[in-house]
């Protein structure tokens, strides 16, 4: 998950821009050769002063990058390349396997569980993303004004984010059980027991609720920062023009945080498409009755692990997921760009 966040963080200032402003405007004879290294400007500046003091060598920046690069290579790039390769083999957890061409992908087309997983993952996106885009914004509006004691509510809304998803999931499983807290309340009110954890659609719905509930606080924080950037004058001008709170929300607040909404939409759709823990806990390792609640990541976990896990097939599903995720993101941003025009 970290790779997502770090990739979308603000870009670090480039090393070249950090050079001293006194850099010469006339190119020195050796500039074509040395301009590639980030340190060239400062070393030239130093040489003009007369002394040949090298503050660092050309490879110095790489030395600083090395630990990060190695970690990325070992834990991101290598597994990714290995997954792509294995998608075309019949590898198992204990045997390396051999090249089988597109067999895995052909099998996927005929695999009922794959289509169920695909359907559930898309259902998850369709149901969860609108909620995680809109609800946290409303929540942020609720708590972004500095009222006495508001910090308590902000922290309270954020708590589910900090809690472990497994712990939270288990608590919900207990509450939603046939004889759990929620059903006890429903029974006291005189209704029939609701089979939250045994009906295939209700299982999925329950898991979605947990995902939304757990994500609210996180996206709320993002929205709170964005709300601070909406100019107050616009709100004042709108009030003077006679706009009520609803009108101001739709015409001032929403356009002001639209970019953030796109970001939240992108992040939550990727997260929703990859859902695992909540559904795994609610539906059990086999994906609920007749495997009807399996999501794609659950299917990857189920087929690719264990002593006879089919790593090749699981890798092929991963590859398909990668492509879908990519398309999903491109679609979100394409919609955003069209909006701007």
């Amino acid at each position: 998950m970290n790779s997502t966040a770090s990739a979308s963080g603000p870009p670090a200032p480039s090393a070249g821009a950090a050079g001293p402003p006194s850099a010469p405007s006339t190119p020195s004879p050796d500039s074509p050769a040395s301009s590639g290294s980030p340190g060239s400007r400062s070393s030239r500046a130093a040489r003009r002063g007369g002394a040949r003091v090298r503050t660092h060598r050309a490879h110095s920046p790489w030395l600083f990058l090395l630990p990060g690069l190695l970690i990325t290579l070992a834990f991101n790039i290598y597994p990714f390349v290995a997954t792509v390769w294995k998608a075309f083999t019949d590898a198992r957890t204990l045997t390396p396997g051999s090249f089988v061409g597109l067999d895995n992908f052909q099998e996927m087309l005929a695999d009922e569980q794959f289509w169920i997983g695909l359907r559930n993952s898309f259902l998850y996106v369709a149901a969860v993303v609108p909620c995680t885009v809109v609800l946290p914004l409303l929540l942020a509006l609720l708590v972004h004004k500095n009222l006495p004691g508001i910090a308590f509510f902000r922290s309270a809304f954020y708590t589910p984010v900090v809690a472990s998803v497994v712990v939270v999931g288990l608590i919900w499983v207990w509450m939603l059980d046939d004889r759990g807290l929620v059903n006890a309340v429903i029974k006291t009110l005189g209704f029939d027991t609701v089979p939250f954890l045994s009906d295939r659609w209700l299982i999925l719905l329950s898991a979605m609720l947990v995902t939304v509930w757990k994500g609210l606080g996180y996206y709320m924080i993002i929205y709170m920062a964005a709300l601070g950037n909406v100019p107050r004058e616009l709100h004042e001008a709108a009030s003077v023009d006679g706009a009520g709170p609803v009108r101001r929300f739709l015409s001032v607040t929403v356009p002001g945080v639209r970019n953030t909404m796109v970001l939240v939409g992108a992040l939550s759709s990727v997260a929703a498409f990859r859902v695992f823990s909540e559904v795994f806990l609610m539906a059990g390792p086999d994906g609920g009755p007749a495997g009807e609640d399996t999501t794609l990541v659950m299917l990857i976990q189920r087929t690719g692990t264990g002593l006879s896990g089919r790593v090749g097939y699981a890798s092929a599903i991963s590859l398909v997921m990668f492509v879908i995720t990519m398309v999903l993101l491109l679609a979100v941003f394409a919609a955003e760009r069209r909006d701007k025009k």
């Binding site: 603000p10 597994p79 920062a225 059990g284 002593l307 006879s308």
Partner: protein, 440 residues
């Protein structure tokens, strides 16, 4: 995604080019199925050397309850063979297969490792376990054990035996006497056959008590007398008339309300939980459960009855636990000596006295402890199980992978939900499993 790393203005900074970065990052983090290797590089050649040096011994979920027994056992071994050192590790019951596959893939399988035949099969196939029949020192141990138990570690399609037989278990059935009596059943007459199980289930269901917490598994088909596979273990056959008959009965029980609401998605752990919460009247358990009930649920313990799992053909299921030797072990002599020591008659018997399991050593089941016993329910069950064990069969086909078990579960659920007839469901399960089996 930690919030600290995410600036709220990032939305504005995202250019389409960075979309690819996000997608790539995302995919990278989810495609963490790493490479694996196999083969048998390294390791000492055989077990004929001196018994000396360090080895690692891995058990399967035994530390919590039997720490003292194993520490004593290891101390005895180290005293008997000076200069040896045994490092004991214990892994939880959940995800044990994942632990084994990760260790085997990195050639770090513990020297002596606790396996069951279905876990030993893929390991043996990948060359991660030592073939005991091919090693002179190890093969000598054969006469130490009951012949059926020794044969229990033969693997179809592979030559030889891949584990020292350790403890045996028939898989007892726990039942809740309080719930039985609520439905007008005799708390001292548990069901013995599947016919009784289903008729009891109907009576319990009338009082809104669910009998079982899981859908039928492959062992149920075996105990019912269904031929599970052909002789060469190359094809599944449980879709025969007998198998369909059993599924029909289960479906009826499900429709009567005799199965817990979550039975279709529950595994053994979930069913165990439901039994502890007195939400189901019967549960097939492990022998280790009784100790845990005694300590954690004294209220329930008083009401627990223990019997053999219902059985239609006189051959109960036998769960075999074994000790495998890692092919990559640097110290096979000590590993084999230790595995033989743990599974010798004296040590197996003393372990079986502590836990409600049975020794696999020759002649042990003829000892008075397993033939006479006292009058307590545990004693009676122990004696009757020991008698049955002599005719027991390990039903779980070793070639049946977790994926194939999931296939069976899925099709059984479809039958329960009315999407398929019992015959169609089993036909489909067998067809899909056979397809998977071909790929192995």
């Amino acid at each position: 995604m930690s919030p600290a790393q995410l600036s709220p203005s990032a939305g504005r900074l995202l250019r389409p080019a960075s979309v690819a970065t996000i997608a790539l990052g995302t995919a990278l983090s989810l495609t963490a199925l790493t490479g694996c290797s196999s083969g048998s590089g390294g390791g000492s050649s055989d077990a004929s050397g001196e018994v000396k040096g360090k080895i690692t011994f891995q058990t399967w979920n035994l530390r919590a309850e039997y720490k003292d027994y194993f520490n004593g056992l290891i101390a005895d071994f180290e005293k008997k063979y000076p200069g040896t050192k045994v490092r004991w590790i214990d892994k939880p019951a959940d995800r044990y297969a994942e632990t084994l596959s990760a260790d085997a893939a990195s050639e770090n399988l513990p020297d002596v490792v606790n396996v069951s035949p279905d876990k030993a099969y893929p390991l043996a196939k990948a060359g991660a376990l030592m073939n005991l029949s091919k090693d002179e020192t190890a093969a000598k141990a054969e006469k130490q054990y009951m012949p059926e138990a020794w044969k229990g570690n033969e693997m179809p399609g592979l030559d030889g035996v891949y584990g020292f037989p350790w403890y045996l278990n028939t898989g007892p059935l726990f039942y809740n006497k309080r719930l039985f009596e609520k439905a007008g059943l005799d708390g001292d007459k548990p069901p013995r056959t599947y016919e009784e199980l289903f008729s009891y289930g109907e009576k319990l269901a009338k009082k809104k008590v669910a009998s079982l917490g899981t859908a039928p598994a492959i062992e149920d088909f075996g105990r019912y007398g269904v031929e599970l596979m052909n002789k060469d273990a190359t094809e599944f056959t449980y879709n025969n008339a007998k198998g369909v008959e059993l599924l029909k009965k289960y479906k009826k029980l499900y429709e009567q309300g005799g199965l817990d609401g979550q039975a279709m998605s529950a595994g053994p752990e979930k069913a165990g939980e439901k039994f502890e919460q007195e939400k189901i009247a019967m549960n097939a358990g492990g022998a280790l459960d009784l100790t845990s009930f005694k300590e954690n649920q004294p209220q329930l313990y008083k009401n627990i009855g223990l019997t053999d799992a219902p059985n239609n053909n006189g051959h109960p299921n036998m769960y075999v636990m074994s000790l495998g030797i890692s092919q990559t072990s640097e110290n096979k002599s000590t590993a084999v000596a230790f595995a033989r020591f743990v599974t010798n008659k004296k040590n197996q018997e003393s372990f079986a006295h502590k836990v409600a399991v049975f020794p696999s050593t020759k002649g042990s089941l003829d000892e008075p402890y397993w033939t006479e016993g006292g009058r307590s329910p545990e004693d009676r069950v122990r004696v009757s199980s020991a008698k049955l064990l002599k005719k027991a069969v390990n039903y779980t086909p070793v070639v049946m992978t977790e994926e194939m078990k999931t296939v069976l579960k899925k099709e059984v659920s479809k039958c329960f939900l009315g999407q398929k007839s019992p015959k169609q469901a089993l036909d489909d399960a067998v067809a899909e499993s056979n397809k998977l089996l071909e790929q192995v």
